[in-house]
Each structure stands twice: as structure tokens, then as C-alpha cells.
Symmetry: D2
Subunit: 288 residues, 4 copies
């Protein structure tokens, strides 16, 4: 597990080069790759850039999957047409993780129809990613205030996400585990038992507002880890550590206030919180 | 399609013999069988009773399935132990339809787990019913105010219900089609296209309150058919008639006020509404 | 149902223009479209050609689906890249039916894995075809001598094929019904009951060798319809006619001897057999 | 892993008391429970008997599941009626493992229909067993000479069996791993990677005839472990040992010749082979 600077997740508008410098300056272990930036560099420029990032002691976090999983077929097809160019850049950079989230509801497709749509498309995309040596992370979304907003709720729990991943039959698909979704899904540490590093592509750490009931928590209104103590981060981190997880961990609080504070102050805090989380996880796993 | 007196659906506390007499007196085409009453009569008494009911010109509606589909395994097993005695009575009476509803949410089982539970148990129960010449009706439940009340929404649409029925692989399982669930599920007449008599075990007719949004409609607070006009009963009845449906149709308004009025007055109204519905369906199907 | 000349199905090496002329000369109702020929003409040339074909009184049969459903992901993706150009030609020609067969076994993927592969890919392809107004026919393969040749048998029955089609959720996918596969799958007319025109994209008529047991019949060694009488073509044609089937019917005997005979003699025989089949179906449906 | 005497698996006709004595005399670690014998003893007699067996230093192997999983529904229901009496005896004895095999083909039900049948029934039976603290082992059957004998092949591989077990959603269902089925299914040690003790209920060790091709091996014509060396028992035992497997291991060669030899001679050989296997597994796991 290594701390990662993901400007987008923090709501910070940083260009990629600055993000790399700030990640190094603030002691992050990694930084999220930026496919748009790679496109401006081309494959060989991207490879050079990646070498510089590595020299700064940084690993790559996770890029966004450039394929809209539940788009209309024509749009999905177009993304497949464009995919090889993106994969060439990611490969040149040495990026090994891309990810996306699963929309937890649908106005037209019921649970089983939507499952088939996702299963089929994820299987195909995963196979194309595998040829490029890239793993795919899938994030399930927990808040009831989101999954209950359309006619057909969809995957909004860890067990469902794991079954979907198993059904893709792909060895390179795993979870994006976000403590916020785990908590709002009504899950606890027992459900993380037995997870392995191979099943986890990325980890997000967040806390929740203390003044809201579980079913009232909002997807886009979270708190920094260890802030309210609403979420059992000790249990979460112990499980992730016990899984032997080796990938990126980031914070994604959707707090607009972060963008209003001095960026160095914010990143000092974020980096410190992630370091604390890694320590908490290691301690908890040891004590167990 | 024949009108049926179902005292329970109307919230009327009538003993079975009186219900039979009232059904005949008020011109219903049928009356719901009462397994509890059959138990007091035994198989041969039940056969005699059924002959009398037939002599009054009444057909049997639908009995309740005496098996709790989603009970703990031990309780479900016990219901299977007890099932043959109930089937012997239903067979003696000449009842050919039993039914139950599908709970549209679960606190522990997610959609796919709950699907498997239902698929497996319904398949088994259906096979046992088939040996007795009895069909099983399944009712999907539409109101969001119900399906959104626990962690995992389950079947709450016609398409899901039909897929579940198809997966049971049983030729004797069909739908209980209730206009209230069809409406609250956000469905319209197009979705009833192509239904056949073999797919429908029972039909319920209800209207909805005019002062509530679709997603605010309550399962237990409905209106009598043709009352508010909120529900497209013409479209519903046209489709059911076009399907060549030959079974019972009843009203299930969950209006406590019915039990407070004189029973003869209530049944005159109900019987008249059902006759009107049958006429509306026939006219609509003809015009089409 | 209209008779169709499909040179490939007959093992005849005819260029497309000659096939069109021969189809017209021998009284066929239609001819199979030839995508390779359309490619040489381009979209507007194809439209002109199609107008000429129509003027000769011929309808289009079914084109081959230019997507290998179970190819490695990269190859499948490439076919999707190329698909729009093919669809533009088919659309220009007014072709509305394409089809492919389902390989009934796999050396690596077991039944459920292979099902998911097919479900996902067919759903995607069907949606892309639907945008072009084209239906997709899927042919299940019956002979045990084929499905038993690798580690994992796959779909080799009508019921499985229909379930797969239902799971694609696509309104434009249907069956290619071949009497040879229906027979070798051990099926009879009862299993064709209730089929509708919307479920059938193409029909193939063949008979089987009389000197082989059912399980010994070979996929590529068949007989002309009505030759041996091994296959119940009356029952098959009655069901297809009762379904109100409006599409192409062809013969696909895989008999090398046809290519050795004078082509006019062969086509006279084939056209006559198809006319006879259409009459047999109409008579049988009427008598029933 | 402990060696177990299973007279039935060896084709020996030993009454249960004698089997217990022989198991102790020949140094087996366990003996298979005999439900028929328990029935003659009743619950308290069974408890006393079990205490004696434990005093001889023997553990219980696995009893046969007294429920025919794919029987007609009425027969399956009757087995559920009778199940509690059997479970009371098994519980009194302290037996914690029962098992059955999955018939790898069906004349009427295709793969998906048969899957649903098994999934539903196993889920129900497993829940009833769980209430009694008993685990259920399922054995997949590998030989093509068996799975190809009817219209619809069914589960005949490890992966399928594991998916079925996962779909039961039961924590007390696992595999009966038989080296003979693993081999004839075309599997190798890689496919056993990552197995855990919780996934294995029982282990069978057998070798295969050297004079037959893989696809010609017969289910009921095997060889004693280490006899021909056709089966990679080292790889198999290494994986089972690496899984931390703690349950019974037996030999099930279906060799009629065993019953013709002096029983003590046979059991000396069998016990020795099982001891050798346990040593081989430990050595292989250590070396790795």
C-alpha cells in the first residue's frame, strides 16, 4: 500500500507536471497517471516522462478507464476503436491499473439486464487490457441516496461486485475498495475477510458525516479519514493490510473546501493522513 | 375472465359458507377457496362442498400458496412436509390455482442471492403442485415505497417476474397481474403485449390515489378500479383480454372503509365494477 | 417463407451476378446477399444492384455475420471496428438478415463461461445491427459427433438457443432453424410449438442419411430434403408455417456431388424441393 | 489429512463394527460412518458407539448424503421429510461431513436447466445440514466416457463445481476432490492453486490405467494410487497439502479384485498407500 496523490479525487485543478512535483515534495508514494497529458506527449514522450516520475521515487496510481461501460452500443464500440491508442500510452508509461465505477441504478435496465450488460462488456474490455498488461479496478457505490434514485437499483455491495468480477472470468479485474462505499453499503470488517492483493486494484479512504443516518449519507459529501470516526477505518485498514495489498491508496472526500485552501497545506494534510492510515493498518494487522 | 369474490382481498371478515352464498347472490362468477375451511371438512367433505359451490354456478378463484417461499430453510422444509395434505384438499375441491407474492426487498440477500433462493424453491414447489394439477401464480410488487425499504431491492417489475418464471422451467407457473403493481412499477400497456392465458394465473384490478406521485404510492393504500383514473385500466384490461385470459379477476383495494359499510352494498359495488371491467376489456380488445 | 438460392450452402462456386440470374431463372423467391460482392460495388453501386435484384422479383436471403463471435478479444474488437462499413453496404442493399452458427463445443471454456462470452458479445453485436435495421440469426448445431469432440460441449439444442437469445435482451435476434440440427438434437415437432415469425431469422431444410444412428450423424454429411425421410420434415414445416414465418428457406446438404452435376439441373431440383416444402408446410398447417 | 477406511469405496462387504476394528488394527486415522448402522442403534446408542470409535483413535470420514439431488420432486421432498432423523443420528455420532456426486449428464435437462435444479436443491439441503453442524461435499465426475453418454453433458470440471458451490451461497458446501476425476477432466496442478481447507470436504486418491487414452478412461475401472503413475499424484497431493486440508483421504479404485483377496492383506496395502500419500504431500509442499 502506498499513498497516492490523485488531484481529481481531491477536487484540485493541478496540471499533471505540477501534480508530479507536489507528490514528490509532499512525500506521497505515488501519483495518478493522466491519460490526457500522455496524449500530448505521445508514446515515446510518455515513456521519458514516466522515467522521470520513477526517478522522483513515485509509483503510478490508477488511470481512469477510457471506456464508458454502460453507454449505448455505438458509443461503447467507438471507445473500443479508440482503446489501443490509449493502451499504447499507458503501456509506454508503465501504468498497470485503470479503474471505473459501477453506476448503482438504471432507469430502464433491471438488475439482471444490467448485470448482463456489465458482465459482457467488462469481460471484453478486461481481455483487451490484459493484452496490454493492465488490471481493471471496479468500484461499487454504497449510498442508498444514490442507488434508490431510479427504477432499478443495481450493484451496491461488495458481494455483488465480487460475483460480477468472478463472472468476467478475467484474472486482471479487481475491486476499487472505498471505505465510504463499504460503510454506506452497511458492511463491516467481517466481509473483507479473506480478500487478497490480487482482488484489489485500488483503495480509497474516506470518513462520513457524523450528523447523518447511514441511509442519508450522500455520495458527494464525505469527510477526510479519521475526521468523524463514523467509519471503522481501523477495521477497514486492518483487512486491507491483512490482504497483503500492494497498490495505491488515496483520499476522495468530495469536499469543495479543499480547493479553497493553499494547496501545500492541503497536500501536507492529505499525505499525513495517508501515512497515518498505512501505519494504522500495519498496527492493526499486527495486533490481530 | 370471471369476477371473483375474495373476502380477504376486500378486507371483509366473512366465513367461507357465507362468502359462497354472497358470491352467488351478487352475481360473481367465482369465489376464492378457503384452505382453512377445507381442513375442517376433510377431503370428502371438501369434495361435497365443492360440488355445491359449482351448483351455485361459481368457479374457484385462487387459494393462497401454503408455503412461505423465503422462510428459513427449516420452516420451508416443514411446509413441504405439510404440503401433500393441503394439496389433497385442493384437489378434492377441484381448485387449480394457488398464488403468492414475491417480497420485493431483503435486508440480507442481494438481488442475485434472493433470485437463486426463489428460483430453487419455486421450481421445487411448482413440481409438487404440478403433480396435483395445480398452477402457481406469482405476484410482483411495484411500489417504490416498499422495494426501497431494505438494503437489497428485489423483483419489482413484470420483466423480472417473467424471467424468474421462465427460469423455474415449470409449465404451471404464471403471473398474478395486479394493475396497481403494473402501474407503480412504471409500466404501460406495451409491456403486456404478447401475454398469453398460459402466463396468467390471476388478475387484480385496482386504481391509485390521485394525490400522490408515482414513487409515493403506498402498497396498502389503493383505490377501487375506475375511481381516480390514475391507472390506465383500459390499456390493462385490453391486454389481459387480448391474452385470452380465462381466469379469476378480483379487486384488492386495501381500503379499511369497505369493512365499515354494509356488506351487501359493498359487494353490489364490487361485483358491478368487475362486470364493468370485463366489458371494458372486451370492448377495448374489439376496437383495437 | 420463400425459397432462396444460397450457392455456398449448396457447395456451388457461383459468382454473385450469376447466382442472381440463376435464382431468377429457376424460380427461387430470393438469393443470398454477398458482402464480398457489395464491397466491390461500394454503397451506391450496391444500392443500384439491389434495385436490379428486386426488379427480378427476388428478395434477399441472409448474409453471413462478419463478426467471429468467439474469437480472441483483439480479433473480435477488430471486427467491431470494421463492422460499420459492412453495415453500410448491407443497409444500402436493403438486407435485413445476417446470421451465424454457434460452435457447440470448446476446448477451454466450459458451458457457463462460453455462455457468458456469447451472451455478452451477441448483445453488443445485436445492438449495433439494430441501429442498422438488421436482424441476427443464430443457428444451434445438433450432431453429437460434433459437440462431443472437445472438453466442453456447448449449446446444441433449441431450448438453449432460445434462452441465450432471450438473455441478449435484443428484439432483433432470432433463430436459424435447420431441420438437420433439430433432428440430430433429438427434438421433435412439439418443441417447435408456439414459435413466432419474430423468433425465426432463417430456415434450412435437410434430410439425414438413413444408414446412421442418430448419434452417429455427421454435421457435414446430410441428404436433400425428402430424400430418406429420416427427418420429420412434415412436422418441421407445419410448425414453421404455423409460426407465420415470412423469411428465407434454403437447402444446405453439404453434398460434394452437387458441384459435380450441371448447375441448371441442380438448381431445378433444389428450387423444386423448396417449392414442395413450402406446399407441404401450408398443407400440414391447414390440416392440423 | 488423515487416512480413512471406507469399505464401500474399496468394494469390501464389511459390517460397520468390523470396519471400525479393522481401521484401528491397520492404522487408519479414520473410518467412514454408516448411517444404516446408526439407525439400528438409535441416537443414544449411536452416541455411545461414536465414543468407542473415538477411543480407538479414529475420526469419522464422510457419510453419504441421504438425499437424491436430482430425483423427481416428490422423491426429493420425501428425502427432506426423512432428513431430520438422519441428521439427529449423524449429530449424535459427531459426524461433520456428508457427500454425494454430481451426475455429469442428463437425458432431458440441458446444462442450464440442470444447473438450476442442482443449485436450488443443494442450497436448501446445505441450509438444513448447516443447522446440524454438518458440511456437504460435492464430487464432480471427470471421465468423458460417462459425461458424453446422454443428450446433455453437465458439470465435469473443477471450475464448474466451484462455481456451483459459490452459487449455493452456503458456507458449509465444499468439494470432494478425487484425483481420478481431476485427471480425466484434463486438469493439472495449476488448477488446484489457491484451494483452502474450507473448500475441501473429502479427498479420494486413485491412479488410472496406463493402457487407455485420457478420453477412454472408464469411471469404474481405476488403479490404486502410485500404481501406473498415469496421474500426477505428487502435484495433486502437494496442492491438497498446501491447502492445509485437514479431512479424510481414501482410496476408491473400483477394482473387483480387492474383494477377492484376504481383507487384512488389502487393508495393509491400502493403509500403507494412504500413509505414503500423506508423506508425499507433505514432502512436496515443503520442497515447493
Amino acid at each position: 500500500m502506498f499513498s497516492t496523490l490523485s488531484p481529481g479525487a481531491l477536487g484540485l485543478d493541478l496540471d499533471h507536471s505540477r501534480a508530479v512535483d507536489l507528490a514528490a515534495a509532499h512525500g506521497f508514494g505515488g501519483v495518478d497517471p493522466d491519460l490526457a497529458h500522455f496524449r500530448t506527449l505521445g508514446p515515446s514522450g510518455t515513456a521519458e516522462h514516466a522515467a522521470e516520475v520513477r526517478e522522483k521515487g513515485l509509483q503510478w496510481g490508477m488511470a481512469g478507464l477510457p471506456v464508458p461501460l454502460d453507454a449505448p452500443a455505438a458509443e461503447f464500440r467507438q471507445a473500443l476503436v479508440d482503446l489501443p491508442a490509449a493502451l499504447e500510452l499507458l503501456k509506454a508509461a508503465g501504468v498497470t491499473r485503470v479503474g471505473t465505477w459501477i453506476r448503482p441504478m438504471h432507469q430502464e435496465l433491471d438488475h439482471r439486464q444490467n448485470w448482463r450488460l456489465h458482465q459482457g462488456r467488462i469481460s471484453l474490455v478486461a481481455a483487451l487490457l490484459e493484452d496490454a498488461g493492465i488490471r481493471l479496478g471496479l468500484e461499487y457505490i454504497g449510498p442508498k441516496t444514490l442507488w434508490s434514485t431510479q427504477r432499478f437499483p443495481f450493484i451496491h455491495s461488495l458481494r455483488e461486485a465480487r460475483e460480477l468480477i468472478a463472472e468476467t472470468g478475467a484474472g486482471n479485474v479487481g475491486l476499487i475498495l472505498d471505505s465510504y462505499h463499504w460503510h454506506t453499503a452497511g458492511e463491516d470488517a467481517a466481509q473483507l475477510d479473506g480478500l487478497t492483493d490480487a482482488e484489489i486494484v485500488s483503495v480509497d479512504l474516506n470518513d462520513a458525516r457524523a450528523d447523518r443516518e447511514l441511509d442519508e449519507q450522500q455520495d458527494l459529501d464525505r469527510r477526510l479519514p479519521f475526521d468523524t470516526g463514523v467509519i471503522d477505518l481501523d477495521g477497514f485498514l486492518r483487512a486491507v493490510t491483512a490482504a497483503g495489498y500492494t497498490g495505491p491508496v488515496k483520499i476522495e472526500p468530495f469536499m469543495a473546501s479543499l480547493a479553497e485552501r493553499p494547496v501545500d497545506e492541503v497536500l501536507t494534510e492529505i499525505s499525513g493522513l495517508l501515512d497515518r492510515a498505512i501505519t494504522v493498518g500495519a498496527d492493526a494487522a499486527r495486533e490481530r
